[in-house]
């Protein structure tokens, strides 16, 4: 049978010539997606290993750091992602039932969930920055004696050494509940006097010539426990990689909505919706593990 004869058959538009049947095409695509999801699990798996080892080495730091995270915001974000997973799964069902209007509405709700998650995450991140918790070391003030970021930085500080034995200011009020400890002007966005804010928070701050605030690295700051930054390093790394995935999901969902609006998906061909859904669910799945590991314990 020549190619011309093959294509002469009753042959749906979406079926590519190298597949025999729509089912074969669908199942092959689906298996490819599961293989991709396996690599995603392994990608995050490396970071989960880092989390486990760091927590094993600094168990108190993780209990300390999680007090800085707002459980309410984390729980709301968990609910938002679960709800958007539900609308995504429902969108697949609607695509399979040829309900185009419902498909577009459900995909849009899923997209709204993704954006809501990112907005909440933005407020959480900026609050951490205001409190002087950054990812890595380079955003902190470099100590005067350090020639480079790599040389002798950060110098580990033994607890109590070079500082008064009193409890650091950060502990004075007990557990740090995020919104209540923020001074009133803290809601102001960029342009606000960050040094003044930081001083109100009891954090040593300094400006450089560009007006940026440099905070002492926790290992250098007598008011902070040594190694406290380790928790925030892994927190920013894991939630950041997850956030990149959510951002990719925003583009993926927008593309699906555009396709659905053009009437591209039918009960016979809904593969992009189904595979996009699988991606979106794995993003939800990873957050289901990140939430308790960082916010709750």
């Amino acid at each position: 049978m020549t190619a011309t004869e093959t294509h002469a058959h009753d042959h749906p538009d979406f079926l590519q010539h190298h597949w025999d049947t729509p089912v074969q095409q669908f199942e092959a695509g689906k298996m490819g997606m599961w293989l991709f999801l396996a690599t995603e699990v392994l990608l995050f798996g490396g970071l989960f290993v880092a989390y486990a080892v760091w927590r094993g080495n600094h168990p108190d730091m993780f209990r300390f750091g999680s007090r800085y995270l707002n459980t309410t915001m984390g729980a709301i974000n968990t609910a938002v992602l679960i709800a958007s997973s539900l609308t995504m799964a429902a969108a697949v069902t609607m695509a399979q039932r040829n309900k185009r209007g419902a498909l577009i509405i459900l995909l849009s709700l899923t997209l709204a969930g993704a954006i809501t998650f990112l907005v909440i995450k933005y407020f959480e991140y900026t609050h951490k920055f205001r409190e002087g918790w950054y990812p890595g070391v380079m955003l902190y003030e470099r100590p005067a004696h350090a020639e480079s970021w790599i040389d002798d930085y950060p110098t580990p500080r033994l607890a109590g050494e070079g500082s008064s034995p009193v409890v650091p200011a950060a502990f004075a009020g007990g557990p740090v509940a995020e919104p209540t400890t923020v001074p009133p002007p803290a809601v102001a966005p960029a342009g606000v006097d960050a040094a003044a804010l930081a001083e109100m928070d009891g954090i040593a701050a300094d400006h450089d010539e560009h007006g940026r605030t440099h905070l002492l690295h926790p290992a250098q700051d007598p008011d902070r426990p040594a190694n406290a930054h380790m928790f925030f390093n892994i927190y920013f790394m894991m939630t950041g990689l997850h956030g990149i995935h959510v951002t990719a999901g925003v583009f993926m969902l927008s593309w699906l909505i555009w396709g659905a609006a053009r009437g591209r998906f039918t009960s016979a061909y809904f593969t992009p919706v189904d595979l996009g859904g699988l991606y979106w669910h794995i993003v939800d799945l990873i957050w289901i593990f990140l939430f308790p590991l960082f916010y709750l314990i």
């Binding site: 025999d20 049947t21 729509p22 089912v23 669908f26 199942e27 689906k30 298996m31 599961w34 999801l37 396996a38 690599t39 699990v41 392994l42 798996g45 290993v49 486990a52 080892v53 094993g56 080495n57 600094h58 168990p59 108190d60 209990r63 300390f64 609910a79 679960i82 709800a83 997973s85 539900l86 799964a89 429902a90 697949v92 069902t93 399979q96 580990p156 033994l158 607890a159 109590g160 409890v167 502990f171 007990g174 426990p225 190694n227 406290a228 009960s267 061909y269 809904f270 859904g277 669910h281 794995i282 939800d284 799945l285 289901i288 593990f289 939430f291 308790p292 590991l293 709750l296 314990i297």
Partner: protein
């Protein structure tokens, strides 16, 4: 042409994929939300070393619900499940071997090198 579905619903109109009813999805989503509330509630009690295992156990149940129902793996071809479970098994292997080394130092290790933190946490979490 052969239909390579091997016992899939070849005779039906919707031969491609499995349709999960909305009601089942809603029940699954409600279960996930309830379990989220449970894990937040349980975290307010201190079970010591068991804290992390309780939290991970609830997360595992939630994850299974997502994978089996939202991701259709319950009705999917078993091979897709094999792919997924294999990746999880390798992550588990990775973590357990890394932790074997970390635990090896545990008896000699001051739990964290910030006694001030430990002291304060002890006051906060009696």
């Amino acid at each position: 042409m052969t239909d390579g579905t091997d016992g899939h619903k070849t005779g039906e109109q919707h031969a491609v994929g499995h349709i999960v009813p909305i009601s089942l999805l809603v029940v699954t989503g409600a279960g996930l939300l309830v379990l989220t509330a449970v894990t937040v509630l349980v975290a307010s009690f201190d079970f010591g070393a068991a804290n992390i295992w309780i939290a991970l156990g609830i997360a595992a149940v939630k994850g299974s619900l997502v994978v089996l129902f939202f991701m259709h793996l319950l009705w999917d071809r078993p091979f897709n499940g094999v792919i997924f479970v294999t990746s999880l098994a390798f992550v588990a292997l990775f973590i357990s071997f890394a932790m074997t080394d970390t635990f090896e130092y545990a008896p000699d290790m001051d739990t964290g090198d910030a006694p001030l933190v430990r002291q304060k946490l002890a006051e906060l979490e009696p």
